[in-house]
Subunit: 277 residues, 2 copies
Amino acid sequence: MHPKIRTRDVFYISDGTAITCQTVGHAVLAQFPLKVNEQTFPFTENGHKVAEVIKELERSFLATGEKPLVFFSMVVPEIKQQLLSANALFYDVLQTMVNFVADDLQLEPKPQLQRSHSVGKDQDGYFDRIAAIEYTLSHDDGISLRGLEDADLILLGVSRSGKTPTSLYMAMQFGLRVVNYPFIAEDLAKLRLLPEFEIHRHKLFGLTIDPERLTEIRNNRLANSDYASESQCESELFSVESLFRREAIPYINTSSMSVEEISTRILERTGLKRRLF
Amino acid sequence: MHPKIRTRDVFYISDGTAITCQTVGHAVLAQFPLKVNEQTFPFTENGHKVAEVIKELERSFLATGEKPLVFFSMVVPEIKQQLLSANALFYDVLQTMVNFVADDLQLEPKPQLQRSHSVGKDQDGYFDRIAAIEYTLSHDDGISLRGLEDADLILLGVSRSGKTPTSLYMAMQFGLRVVNYPFIAEDLAKLRLLPEFEIHRHKLFGLTIDPERLTEIRNNRLANSDYASESQCESELFSVESLFRREAIPYINTSSMSVEEISTRILERTGLKRRLF
């Protein structure tokens, strides 16, 4: 008897943060009808730690009767060989591609431990990233409108349209300085652009959302309030979208988008470059 | 004549956010002695967009005389075939592993567009993530010590030891509710744990940093201030590390670690689970 959706144990194992293993493993597994029990083992960088991880793999195999899936990345050959001795299905998230690139470019790969997410020598990148996070924090939710000339982007939208998480994500992942400014219900009748924004028009970007979705999100915060009512949400969104169109401010509808997707769509529309860390 | 470090054009192309392509491409390229010019094309989801991307690839080939490297992920077979017709070196960041998994599990993959970073049906996960970001924002830098019972983690450390970026990253990426609390210079002589933290001892975690590094970071903020002086940094760090040891608070040194690494190390030490989005 086969249950429709099988469950498998999945391990992400790396000598670094294991973030790449997780990202890849997730994307791969999303293509299969599987339920997964996930465990992550970062910094598996010596024989002792690998031995511990192997115990977990063997425990999984004994408990489920099936080999667990392992998405891994490991630089030191001996450590890697030790890991591969366990009863599991192994997927090296980088090696195949590294081999292809080495062949294509006729270059010898030089594996480096934890290279992809370390500060390393890129001090400027580090400071830029921290500065972007600070700038964005101090310009969240209309707290301050000073220093707009340093902003890369100014996000506009009604309360709960996704401005804050999007701003922080773009600062953290792309090193961008993001201002976000909410439209307040009272202003909506006479909605117009703040004079402060006039000379920064090219940095303005609007977020909107379906009224049903906004109602749901606001109810999750303040159940059965006027603020969360369908009529309130509808009228706010109507006013704001009218403003976006009147003022030719580009905008996107964030309903059912993750912060990753919203952020990427904004980059795409504005032509802003991602900085990579 | 071969220059020591070659430069290559690199493209990240996806029908989704291209975040996975970038993550993998970066990790792969970090193993080669290459300088790269990077460009990212997300949401390349129809023939028209692929045609535009192919123009860029051909432009790169003509300008450099070398095939650009393309790390890509593409679900629709016709779109993928169209892309592969360009003059470039192609690396499919997921397909090889998808094929391995399909073979190993005897399961048919069902490619899904933009599955890995969409909100999809996981509404609870979405709300949890947003709630974690909000909680963390409202407990940044000692702003509020209310609701500590809802915290997953309480970070302690001197100013500029990495608390804020780490807290936000852990909220954003792992869905954790993180309080962070700075030690202020005046308290340092009579340094003790706030009574508010007593019943949450198991949630406490310390960040420390090398004095030279702290001096450098503080000088970047307030050059030549007392605050940034070596003696001030040394004495603050000495007091705080003494407190961590006396009170048996686990702590790590964040010097030269990225927020990804700090966050992962904290998970590892505390046993907190990452939630994945």
